[in-house]
């Protein structure tokens, strides 16, 4: 079974996203910030990462840049998931190695659609 890491500092968002992604046949792990996520990735690279932008300790963009420098760090497909919705932020995420971008709020249809666009389904 493929694995997806859900990274968000809100427990509620993590729970909602995890449930949706489990329905898409992924085994889901959760992390509350970028640093925690990076530790999990170093342990075992997931197939997909759903990534929030604004988080304490290490934010999403710093995590993503660090991830892409890791060995096998290009393997996970990263779907950003943020309330940031202006083109500058989105472009920065894509430049930093994001494969797709979800603008919050999201629902199951959006996650499924974006996972499909990113080639995960």
């Amino acid at each position: 079974m493929r694995r997806c890491l859900v990274v968000d500092d809100s427990r509620v968002v993590r729970r909602v996203a995890s449930r949706i992604i489990e329905d898409l046949d992924f085994k889901v792990e959760e992390a509350a910030d970028g640093a925690e996520a990076l530790t999990l990735c170093r342990n075992a690279m997931p197939d997909a990462v759903l990534l929030d932008w604004n988080m304490p300790v290490m934010n999403g963009i710093d995590f993503l840049r660090a991830l892409r420098l890791e060995e096998e760090g290009n393997k996970p497909i990263v779907v950003f998931c943020s309330t940031e919705n202006d083109s500058d932020h989105i472009a920065e995420a894509v430049r930093s190695g994001a494969n797709e971008f979800i603008i919050k709020p999201f629902d199951a249809d959006i996650i499924e659609s974006k996972f499909a666009e990113a080639g995960l389904l």
Binding site: D86, S87, V94, I102, I103, D107, D109, I110, S113, K114
Partner: protein, 280 residues
């Protein structure tokens, strides 16, 4: 909702769109009309019906019929079918026509996602040799004036632009508005014509088409209406034109006007076109 209200709405639906609303679906009616009832300031569905009885209004009746269908769509829906048309059918038609001009009709195009997806894909493929020099007219029609205007404005909400569109396509072809909605580019808006048209009415005025998309529209109709509309669509096909229905939809055994295409999977063509393909 009163039984008499349901009967009146069911008759309206039958007349306007050929939709078969059986009494077992009465519970759907209130839900499907809720937005419209609120928007237009009625107290309830019964209130709407009594106003309509007192003052009939054909434009409003069409809006009610469209709301009762509760159709939904998204960008690049059933994209494999779009891709077959754009990659295989259009280049072949282009070669055959010589005029360099092709016409596509999206019948029951609602808020325009289908037409805009085609327009967007055609822009992406404009450098492709198979379609170079082509002038492709896209016409999207719908019974609802409101949806047609919305489609023409090309403004889509947060959820609509995140269903079926990659972030790359969103950033390339849309602009974010202050309201949080997104507007599709002027170039793509100019690439599609939108017009109000009831599929139960004569379509000769629209001309002949190389491809007609009518996806997930016929299945809402009572079977006699479905056949009449299919025959009407077939009459607007160029001799070698292709009618595309939605995934899982079929006209087999209901009409002789079209039969399954041998050229494109999921497509339907006039029998004489099939005969020519076989002969060739």
């Amino acid at each position: 909702m009163l039984e008499s209200s349901f009967e009146m709405l069911a008759a309206l639906a039958q007349r306007e769109t050929g939709q078969d609303l059986t009494p077992s679906k009465a519970y759907l009616v209130d839900a499907r009309l809720a937005n419209l009832v609120r928007r237009e300031g009625f107290a309830s569905t019964d209130d709407l019906v009594s106003c309509l009885k007192a003052r009939p209004n054909p434009v409003f009746e069409a809006e009610i019929a469209a709301a009762l269908l509760a159709r939904t769509t998204w960008f690049f829906r059933e994209r494999d079918a779009l891709e077959r048309i754009v990659r295989d059918v259009l280049p072949a038609r282009l070669k055959a026509t010589k005029s360099g001009r092709l016409k596509i009709w999206i019948a029951g195009g609602g808020t325009g996602q289908e037409a805009y997806s085609l327009a967007l894909r055609l822009v992406e493929l404009s450098g492709d040799s198979g379609l170079s020099g082509a002038r492709i007219d896209l016409l999207s029609t719908d019974i609802s004036r409101r949806m047609t205007e919305q489609a023409r404005d090309g403004i889509f909400g947060h959820y609509d632009v995140q269903r079926g569109l990659s972030i790359h396509r969103l950033m390339t072809h849309f602009q974010r508005l202050e309201t949080g909605s997104w507007r599709i580019s002027e170039a793509l808006r100019n690439a599609v014509s939108f017009r109000v048209q009831n599929l139960l009415d004569d379509a000769a005025v629209l001309g002949q088409f190389d491809v007609i998309f009518c996806r997930h529209v016929l299945s809402d109709m009572a079977s006699a209406t479905r056949v009449a509309v299919a025959d009407r669509l077939a009459a607007q096909l160029n001799p070698d034109g292709v009618l595309m229905l939605g995934h899982g939809e079929t006209l087999s055994g209901t009409t002789t006007a079209v039969t399954p295409s041998r050229v494109v999977r999921g497509g339907w063509q006039r029998p004489e076109a099939i005969a020519r393909t076989v002969a060739a």
